[in-house]
Amino acid sequence: MADLAQQNIAEAHGGETRRDFLYLTAGAIGAVGIAATIWPFVDTLNPARDTLALSSTEVDLAPVQVGQRLTVAWRGKPVFIAHRTPEEIKAAEDVDISQLRDPQKDSDRVQKPEWLIIVGVCTHLGCIPLGQKTGDDRGPYGGWFCPCHGSIYDTSGRIRQGPAPLNLWLPGDADQASKALYKFTSDTAITIG
């Protein structure tokens, strides 16, 4: 019944149910033209070539002694590099994963166990946790402690107490942070990104 009504209306408009091929083509061309024009104006706001070129950082690890930690800048963010002691490694590996808020094995977070390389940004609201400088409060697990709201990370950078929902990220884009985003170019040098 509704179809009949529609047909009547269409006839009143002069038989436009048979949409003219020419007008359809014109409309389609117009739509394609507008879409094709909009794309450059959107893509232009994506990161430019010079921004993308600065997306990797090389770090010389030789000066970082066992037990020492180094902070480097990468893509505008701090990256924590920790030369872990055997005790710190053992403490990280001996944890029962099922007890963790964000379960993750230590071996999934490092390429070489003595080098922990993580992004130093608290996964709660983005402050930079303490623990890189000697004398800093590292929290009860000897990892990192975020002074803003009290998130506490262990020697693998995993969240143990406090409001943060996730472990400290491994280097990478937000959607695919992984330990693969850095590589050892030698025993004492890495390239991040």
């Binding site: 509704a2 014109a26 450059p40 104006f41 893509d43 232009t44 706001l45 430019a48 070539r49 010079d50």
Partner: protein, 426 residues
């Protein structure tokens, strides 16, 4: 089960329209609005100008997300846009050549008005608003050209702002005020950037006024006679929407030829040299659309009474646009369209040639024959506006007007009504 969504959409639109009548408004202004049925392609340029204004604003805002308005960083930020920013080269060339296209369209639109008497009653304010748009566009373009901070940017800014020093007494104070310093410099660049971003939105508002004024009495037409009834008009949509769309496509082809194949043809190579306050280029030349005013400015090489040649040049250059405000009263002819004005029709083309000649004068160093041509052309321009226009209107014997637009269109030419036939003698 009947599909409800067309009904639902119509109901939502009706709900909004009852409170904010945008559909009614569009329907009235596009579907019902009576437009003369005989508009030629010379009437496309108004909508083209509006579209180019939008193109310039959008491309300008995108450029603004990447540009740095600081004297030591501006030039490099533009080069970064050209090299590193995705499609930066495209948007920059669009904006740069878009300015030239915008002025070409404005000038054609303006000369269309001159030829067909679109400035005559009752469209005097429509015309005046249009000249205000022209002035705003010139100011915007001038400031925009400074932003890349090339040699021509810097020195054109210096020369033109220095003009204000011609004003007696307060002149050099005004110039220092404009510069924000003792020369064109970083403060000048910053304020030009802020104003260049602002003015296009002022232009947008004045364009809306222009459209309101237009819709009061509707468009003029090539015959210059009022429409007298529905046999003379057609709805704007779909007739002029499709015609404007076609015209837009042809225009985009020409625009594209510049942007993609000759993006620097209309520009000055010197502007690819970073600004150097210690070295003036051999020839300081403005963009082509400012050349006629530049020519008039330079043509006064002698003082007039107590007015220095510099001040006289400035006054005349400004006057060349100011005189346009008075056009509806300077032109005394009761006939609108040049089609029926046998003398003015040719005088109009003399004006066009005069303006092109002024452009040539402005592009060349002021020496030898260039100066002479410039002075003659300047003189002719003001003679045209202040003497010829009033005179021709009085002495001209116009051709007989057709009885109506409809009759002219149907008859395939100007058809006389019986009463007018005896007056047909030229």
């Amino acid at each position: 089960m009947a599909e409800d969504s067309p009904g639902a959409t119509a109901r939502i639109i009706r709900w909004i329209d009852y409170r904010l009548p945008f559909v009614q408004f569009l329907n009235h202004e596009l579907n019902e609005y009576p437009t003369p049925r005989n508009l030629s392609y010379w009437w496309n340029f108004g909508s083209l100008a509006g579209i180019m204004l939008v193109v310039m604003i959008i491309s300008g805002i995108i450029l603004a997300t990447q540009y740095t308005p600081s004297a030591d960083l501006a030039f490099d930020s533009v080069e970064r846009i050209m090299r590193d920013v995705n499609y930066g080269w495209l948007i920059r060339y669009m904006h740069m050549n878009g300015a030239s296209m915008f002025f070409a369209i404005l000038y054609i639109h303006l000369f269309r008005g001159l030829y067909y008497g679109s400035y005559k009653p009752p469209r005097e304010l429509l015309w005046i608003i249009g000249i205000i748009i022209l002035l705003l566009a010139i100011a915007t373009a001038f400031m925009g050209y400074v932003l890349p901070w090339g040699q021509m940017s810097y020195w054109a800014a210096t020369v033109i702002t220095n003009l204000f020093s011609a004003i007696p007494l307060i002149g050099s104070g005004i110039v220092t005020f404009l510069w924000g310093g003792f020369t064109v410099g970083d403060p000048t660049l910053h304020r030009f950037y802020a104003l260049h971003y602002l003015l296009p939105f002022v232009i947008l508002a004045v364009v809306l006024l222009h459209l309101v004024a237009l819709h009061r009495h509707g468009s003029n037409n090539p015959l210059g006679i009022d429409h007298k009834g529905p046999q003379d008009t057609i709805p704007f949509h779909p007739y002029y929407t499709i015609k404007d769309l076609f015209g837009l496509t042809v225009f985009l082809l020409i625009y594209g030829l510049f942007v993609f194949y000759a993006p620097n043809f209309l520009g000055e190579p010197d502007n690819y040299i970073p600004a150097n306050p210690m070295q003036t280029p051999n020839h300081i030349v403005p963009e082509w659309y400012l050349l006629p005013y530049y020519a008039i400015l330079r043509s006064i090489t002698f003082p007039i009474l107590f007015i220095s040649s510099k001040l006289a040049g400035v006054i005349l250059a400004f006057s060349s646009i100011v005189v346009l405000f008075f056009l509806p009263w300077l032109d005394t002819s009761p006939i609108r369209s040049s089609r029926f004005r046998p003398i003015y029709k040719w005088v109009f083309w003399l004006l066009v040639i005069d303006v092109v000649a002024l452009g040539w004068v402005g592009a060349n160093p002021p020496a030898g024959i260039v100066v002479t041509v410039g002075q003659i052309a300047t003189l002719y321009y003001f003679v045209h506006m202040l003497i010829l226009l009033p005179l021709i209107g009085k002495i001209e014997r116009p051709l007989p007007l057709p009885s109506s637009i409809g009759a002219a269109v149907m008859g395939g030419g100007a058809r006389l009504s019986a009463a007018e036939a005896p007056l047909a003698k030229p």
